[in-house]
Symmetry: C2
Subunit: 537 residues, 2 copies
């Protein structure tokens, strides 16, 4: 039975395409009441063509399929079952499902989930049952990297065996010479298996930040001609765009494609945004060089950084949701990106989350008995292959997620102390100077004299992490600060219930039922404390 | 008996000065072998004039005093007793006593030490016996600040009762109207008491970073006319310059003197450097706006910052020793500068120290039973008044100090990983590009494209903290990184003894007696680990 917010699939038998199996002429006109959608179908192999669409309202959907296969009929679409809320879209700096429900994402990373054995995959899905995560970052193409060198069972496309080799140096320095991929010929086994995973993730309510390109490659996926890149996107969009739970991540670490020009990325960005009939979330993840998140088609900021204080800054600059899609991984590797402690991972989630951003986890815990290079290549690290979660951060992330989901609306950054000044332009400082008490003007005058670099150096380590929901909720996170007394700012003249949260021990304690602006709270003076203040009605 | 590196004091009786008790005409010519020093004496009250000098070599010192008092004679100066090593001076980016001994300073902060009761002072000196610290930052003038509002017993100068009031707003916003200080009239009781403390600190081998001006003031010391400021310096230099253990800190948070012009600071700087016959270390401590540490008379960098990765940057920019004279305080205050955990304080010391910088501690632990404003004003917090050290960081700082003092020479920053690139100019990048393997050039090309701000954001959280002493010693500090395996870089072809250090538990364990470049060490995978590698001979 078709339901709102669940993909509808129409299947038609036909002749196998002659020539391209991607650029097939299958058009679908879907109508419901006054509305019409013009979509493309795709060839799924074995003489089967499919058209997929995503109903977002109840009603009778009439379809008319023309081209190499034809068909028409109706689909009755019932109301949503309550478990699904539709595509996630940016709403200002927040994320909201199609039905209006807000979502705070708690991401994790299993880059090569699409290319693992059934056994590992089953473990991965069991692990995801922990409920810490409602978003996963994963790649379409296989991944070649330290601790992750297994040969995938299937590629997204067959190779063009008759063409001459593509020669390139892979990301680990190896010389490679391979037949190019023929993006006219999808490997249907791959796509079916891939969609099995997407379906399971959908059933679990997990958003999929789908990484379309990445540079960790020995097979040639990162060295295709641009027309092949676009053809691949054509196929991916025809097949996948009706999935309600996918986001398009143009790349992971796009800037590590050293010989790609920026125009190429812009072309890919435009191609996706023009051709995706549902306009899923779209961004481009960076390593060193920020992509221009101000571009119109880019729906949100997707960054890799260990500077946790930038949510408000990005929000102000771009007016879009801010995803910290990489901030190092909980683990014990020799690599600095893979050796932060569980405490530090949790610390980072709290900093990003309380200030209204969305954070992503990863785990790279290498067992002691893994010694040789071969053992390392075959190690099962969550961040690449999935498997079992071994770390201590997911339980704490779940605790944070539960807390955030209990709030009435999304958190916004709340500027306290010097944070207020941090993001001010000269003009804003001017307007403030007119209202600050005379005895504070000397202090404020300093901020006119600070250069950009001086400001950064000054404020980064002094940043205060706090969020609020209007005057209803305030949430302060103190990190390694250990005040024994604290006067969280709240709205004047209102009464709040104050809870002290130990983010590591996962305890919450109501310490004051009538907290008012100016009051002082006693805190335990311990690291990793948060304070939640809910207005009393 | 006079000794090298100990102050010699000559005392002469005379008429009390008529007019200024500071600008007294007492000249001393000191000669020893071929050398001559022309010094000024000072009036110490009670018809006593004093001339002080600091012998730095053995020999017969002949003095001839002229002016309002006269006298001549000789002083026989014996060799140093081995406990004292003379004035600390900058030697490149390191600190070295006059006798050539290197010193790594481990500072603490007791701003208002000069203005406390005997009881508290005795406790302070007992606390300093812990041996964690060999430098203290303290003010000449009393301090008016939260948790520190006591009235001092004596000021450095008497007030000019007949002059009209100086009206100003104090640093906490209070309106003040006081008689100006008469810097022609020192309060000798103050100076004697002050010197008792300097002498005790000298005996304990503690350097005194003497803060000459500061803005936390309700009495008017920060609102004197510039000619009074200079006259005060005249007296301070006449009295104190022969102390081997003092450094001149022009100010604490000089930039919080909102109405002082930069020229005023330059004049003070020049005055001190021209008039101090021994050219003690001289710097100016900042809050927000960096002083120009490149100025010729400035001997070292004295900063307040929570960005711990700047030692190498400052060294490169200025070629001078780098003192992190404020990086927040261990404590439990509501103020963010006073609530870092002991672990974080220790973490900061390690980061600064292993990279060849010098860090300063402070402690602000407020007892639970202190509730009222009056109790808070009278609280005894180490950072202001001294008293008992209650925190957990000093023992760990002592542990670090012992380790550093066991090394054969001062640590220099050792650039590992991306640190190497962090400080490179475009020109340096160019020269590197010529030698990096071809397959790394794409990666390196990224760094040409990064803006200043992007670079900072990128590198600050990824900074690796490591130091070395040539090829003899390497010291890595991992902070919250928890690798279970690690390949510290050492010189090729040499063998090292590898020790794993738990900087919090204060344990050292030799884990490998023949560590060579490229080997892998197993680490405990715990936060706050350091690795010390000593070359084997």
């Amino acid at each position: 039975m078709a339901r709102v917010y669940e993909m509808v699939e129409l299947e038609l038998k036909g002749e196998a395409p002659i020539g391209s199996q991607v650029e097939v002429d299958v058009k679908a006109e879907i109508t419901c009441d006054e509305k019409t959608w013009n979509l493309k179908g795709f060839y799924a192999g074995n003489h089967i063509y499919k058209v997929r669409f995503l109903p977002e309202e109840t009603g009778t959907y009439r379809y008319k399929i023309t081209g190499v296969v034809t068909g028409e009929g109706t689909v009755e679409v019932c109301p949503a079952d309550g478990n699904h809320h539709g595509i996630v879209r940016a709403d200002g700096t927040h994320l909201r499902h199609e039905d209006g429900t807000f979502i705070s994402t708690f991401g994790t990373t299993v880059y090569a989930l699409a290319h693992q054995t059934e056994e590992i995959t089953e473990e991965t899905f069991s692990s995801l049952e922990c409920g810490a995560f409602n978003k996963i970052r994963m790649c379409v193409f296989p991944k070649h990297y330290e601790y992750n060198k297994n040969e995938p069972g299937h590629f997204a496309f067959h190779r063009a065996e008759s063409e001459k080799d593509v020669v390139f140096r892979d990301n680990l320095g190896g010389e490679r010479s391979v037949k190019p991929f023929d993006t006219h010929r999808p490997d249907f086994d791959f796509w079916e298996d891939f969609e099995t995973k997407l379906n399971r993730l959908f059933d679990m309510g997990i958003q999929v930040d789908l990484i379309l390109f990445h540079p960790y490659d020995r097979w040639g996926h990162s060295h295709m001609a641009q027309e092949s890149n676009l053809r691949y996107l054509d196929y991916a969009i025809r097949r996948l765009a009706a999935y309600p739970n996918i986001w398009w991540s143009m790349a992971n670490e796009y800037d590590l494609f050293y010989d790609w020009k920026m125009e190429q990325w812009h072309e890919i960005e435009t191609y996706i945004s023009v051709n995706d009939p549902y306009r899923h979330l779209l961004s481009n993840h960076k390593c060193f060089l920020e992509y221009d998140y101000g571009r119109e088609a880019i729906t949100h900021v997707s960054v890799q950084t260990g500077v946790l204080s930038r949510v408000a800054e990005f929000q102000k600059e771009f007016g879009k949701p801010v995803c910290y899609d990489e901030c190092c991984y909980e683990g014990n590797l020799k690599e600095t990106w893979g050796s932060i402690s569980a405490k530090e991972m949790v610390n980072r989630f709290w900093k990003v989350t309380v200030t209204g951003g969305y954070c992503t986890h990863g785990e790279v815990i290498l067992e002691d008995d893994i010694v040789t290079q071969e053992q390392q290549d075959n190690a099962i690290l969550w961040w690449a292959k999935g498997g079992k979660l071994k770390g201590e951060s997911p339980a704490r992330i779940k605790f944070l997620r539960d807390l955030v989901e209990s709030l009435p609306a999304p958190l916004e950054p709340y500027a306290v102390g010097l944070n207020k000044i941090m993001l001010m332009s000269k003009e804003e400082l001017n307007s403030v100077m007119n209202v600050v008490p005379e005895d504070m003007r000397g202090f404020f005058s300093i901020f006119y004299k600070m250069g950009e670099k001086e400001k950064l150096y000054q404020f980064l380590p002094a940043y205060s992490y706090a969020g609020h929901i209007g005057e209803e909720v305030y949430l302060y996170y103190l990190g390694t600060d250990c005040p024994a007394r604290f006067r969280p700012e709240v709205a004047s003249g209102k009464s709040y219930r104050a809870e002290i949260i130990n983010v590591w021990d996962m305890t919450r304690e109501v310490v004051e039922k009538d907290y008012q602006m100016g009051d002082e709270l006693r805190l335990p003076g311990r690291e990793y404390t948060a304070i939640l203040l809910n207005v009393q009605v």
